[in-house]
């Protein structure tokens, strides 16, 4: 069985630190008014951005589990 440093540590680092960058970006563009949630199209993009983050996060988690247990 591969060690923690090869399985979940990179995952936590990737989505922990990457998550900080991502949330900073979301907050920044919202605060700056570049994304305006009163506009329908911008609300759509806001949802797409959040979906994308969890899409990759779940993809990697499932992949690690599959590698370890399948």
């Amino acid at each position: 069985m591969p060690s923690f440093t090869h399985t979940w540590l990179p995952y936590i680092y990737l989505y922990g630190l990457g998550g900080i960058f991502f949330i900073s970006g979301m907050l920044l563009v919202k605060k700056a008014g570049a994304i305006d949630l009163t506009k329908k199209r911008h609300r759509y993009w806001y949802r797409v951005l959040i979906f994308g983050f969890f899409y990759f996060m779940i993809l990697h988690a499932v992949w690690i589990l599959a590698a370890m247990y399948l």
Binding site: T5, G18, V29, V48, F56
Partner: protein, 705 residues
């Protein structure tokens, strides 16, 4: 096919004459395809940007070939063979910076009508910042082209014999020789085709590439006996999607996270002019967002399989049949070895042709983009400085188009020469990693802070370029300074910290930028005192002279680490003071419409008046030519304008109604005074030519803003 005993030795003569015929045929078709679309260039705007007209799907698929090529099947197959599925890491870590791109950089570059990244630096900061950004960006782009050529050369070498005889003389086939021949072929259609040719060639290749990559995967899995056998042959550690946290030094998660996930992702989205020009070729910002999102969410993960699977198959075969693919096969050759093993003659030729042609597309895109930088940031400023006559716009445009084509050739030559710098690395992957870690950080930090931090000043950005680069040079000479950031990665003395140096480089650039920006008031006070002196200007010339001397001392590694650290600190202080002394910077004028905080202003600048945000319908109309009207406007009926919720002076996008053309026949224009003929739009002859509209064809029209 001749297989040598493989102890990291090179393969030669892989492939049959059928493969060569297929490859030549493929290249001929691709070049003919590109040349056909070259006729859509009517100006330098079309040559570089494709006329800002295309639909998202066309751009999204045309980016596949660029993305796959630039990240290259050779290097990812190599890492797939050495480390397994974690070769996909770099294709699935770009999302973190997408919000910054979609709602920051993309609208700003499109609405400010900036033609190159250095031009942004001039408008956001000062012409001096543009000059330094041009130097750094040209180095980055030429280096990127060099990496592309190196990969192409390594892909072609196993297919060729070791020697050939011509007129009784025997010549060795060398990597550089192969690269030069490839460069000549590569330079051909970009020089005569332009951006539209590249977009359409890439579109074709994007589809073929995905097909060829998955076909190879299918053939490979079948070769080893099916999916279950393939999956069970791979060791568990090979199946994991992320590499080990900090070992080995040639491929570790944390180093690659900072080199690729952070510096690379920002570099890819924010400063890869080739990619940015693709987004600028979309018909509007929303289409650009769709293209980028679709590419990152779906095409990049698929591309990761396309480029890495030969390595995974190679690993499985090496476990099951080590006599067929020895475990110590040269990783950079595994793609060609596996493809030749699992594919029939002719099919192997097709796979090789599609993948090398895609890589050529990447190089072409980069050459085109570098040529755009040359025209915008070197050629035009020089012409302006020389006060050359450009009153005749058509003549000027023709001259620039010629200059663009000549510069494409020169850039190709520089790209070939830059290969020499990367040859010493054990694999293309490491060469590319080192290159990215070293050349992207100053520009990445400068673009990022320029865009998102209103307080970031001209002295901040120039000091980032000068002082940040000086600190980076210190890291090159004395890697010991990088060790506090190494996360436990062992240093390879031959190629120290190829990846994690990106973290050090970004931190020093970021540190310099923040320090200088926050001490702006203090610097202004010091400069005011110097200006009050009668010999203030002489003092500042002396300061600049000392800065240059100190920078040269750091560059040539004169003095110990502490001494160089002191010299760099002085360089930072002196540069900041010099910028304040000699360069004017207006906090208001230099930020309005140029940062994420004023995107709406940028939109108004783009339109030239207040923006009409009302959402209207997309309508279908027939077109008629205006007679004797030179105005660059089009005229719709009152009712049609109501449907579109448009006013006179608003911007409209008119396109051939056939959706599969993806906007190839389209034009951006302004609403003129309305008439009363519903379903008819009156256009000028120039608009007809720009839009390439055909008599009798229905058009769609949508208000932009």
């Amino acid at each position: 096919m001749e297989h040598k005993p493989v102890n990291l030795e090179s393969f030669h003569n892989i492939g049959t004459s059928t493969d060569w015929v297929v490859m030549l045929l493929y290249f001929f078709i691709v070049i003919a395809f590109g040349s056909y679309f070259g006729r859509y260039n009517r100006s330098t705007k079309d040559f570089f940007f494709g006329g800002r007209r295309f639909s998202w799907w066309l751009i999204a698929f045309s980016i596949v070939a660029t993305g796959v090529g630039s990240h290259s099947f050779i290097k990812y197959s190599a890492k797939g063979f050495e480390h397994g599925f974690s070769s996909t890491m770099t294709y699935i870590n770009d999302w973190f910076f997408v919000p910054f791109f979609l709602f920051g950089w993309l609208p700003i570059i499109i609405y400010t009508k900036i033609r190159s990244i250095p031009e942004y630096f001039e408008r956001r900061f000062t012409p001096s910042a543009r000059f330094l950004a041009t130097v750094l960006l040209m180095l980055y782009m030429v280096g990127y082209i060099g990496i592309g050529f190196l990969t192409l050369g390594k892909a072609a070498m196993p297919l060729l014999p070791e020697q050939f005889t011509l007129f009784g003389t025997t010549y060795d086939i060398t990597l550089m020789g192969v690269i030069i021949v490839i460069a000549v072929i590569t330079g051909f259609y970009i020089t005569f085709g332009g951006q539209t040719a590249v977009i359409f060639t890439d579109l074709l290749q994007g589809f073929i590439l995905l097909f060829a990559g998955f076909f190879l995967f299918f053939l490979g899995v079948s070769y080893v006996g099916g999916w279950d056998i393939f999956w069970n042959l791979l060791p568990t550690s090979w199946k994991l999607p992320l590499a080990d946290f900090n070992q080995p030094n040639s491929f570790n998660f944390v180093g690659i996270f900072w080199q690729d996930g952070v510096a690379g992702s920002i570099g890819f989205l924010f400063m890869n002019m080739g990619l940015i020009m693709r987004f600028m070729a979309t018909k509007n910002v929303d289409e650009g967002r769709k293209a980028a999102t679709f590419n990152i969410l779906f095409m990049l993960p698929l591309s990761a399989i396309v480029v890495g699977n030969a390595g995974w198959i190679g690993k499985a075969i090496s476990v099951a049949e080590p006599n067929v693919v020895p475990p110590n096969t040269n990783p950079d050759e595994i793609f060609v070895v596996v493809a030749s093993l699992v594919a029939l003659p002719g099919v192997f030729g097709f796979i090789m042709a599609s993948l090398t042609a895609a890589l050529m597309s990447t190089v072409d895109t980069l050459i085109n983009a570098t040529s755009a930088i040359y025209i915008n940031d070197i050629y035009r400023p020089i012409k302006k400085f020389l006060k050359s006559d450009d009153s005749d716009k058509k003549k000027t445009d023709k001259r620039e188009l010629t200059a663009a084509r000549i510069s494409s050739i020169a850039i190709t030559i520089l790209g070939v020469l830059s290969v020499l710098a990367f040859q010493s690395f054990p694999t293309v992957y490491e060469a590319h990693g080192f290159f990215h870690s070293t050349l992207t950080p100053p520009l990445v930090v400068a673009i990022f802070l320029g865009l998102f931090w209103r307080k970031y000043t001209a002295s901040g950005v120039i000091t980032t370029f000068v002082g940040g680069v000086a600190f980076m040079i210190l890291g090159l000479h004395d890697p010991i300074v990088i060790s506090p950031f190494d996360h436990g990665i062992m240093m390879d003395p031959n190629h120290p910290y190829s990846y994690i140096r990106a973290l050090y480089n970004m931190l020093v650039c970021f540190g310099v930028a923040v320090l200088i920006t926050y001490s702006t008031d203090y610097q202004r006070k010091v400069v005011a005192k110097i200006k009050a002196l009668s010999n203030g200007r002489t003092i500042m010339y002396g300061v600049i002279f000392l800065t240059i001397v100190f920078f040269l001392m750091v560059t040539f590694n004169v003095g110990s680490v502490p001494v160089q650290f002191i010299l760099i600190t002085l360089i930072v202080i002196f540069t900041a003071l010099s910028v304040h002394f000699f360069i004017k910077y207006d906090d208001q004028a230099n930020t309005e419409g140029l940062t994420v905080w004023s995107v709406q202003k940028a939109k108004e600048y783009f339109k030239g008046s207040k923006v009409n945000e009302e959402e209207g319908e997309v309508i279908k109309v027939h077109w008629k030519l205006k007679e004797g009207d030179d105005e660059e406007t089009v005229n719709f009926s009152v009712n049609d304008m109501k449907k579109m919720k448009a006013n006179v002076g608003d911007l409209v996008y008119i396109s051939d109604a056939r959706k599969y053309l993806g906007g190839l026949k389209s034009v951006h224009v302004t609403f003129g005074e309305p008439h009363n003929e519903d379903g008819i739009v009156y256009i000028t002859n120039e608009e007809k030519l720009n839009g390439q509209f055909i008599d009798g064809r229905i058009l769609t029209a949508e208000k932009e803003m």
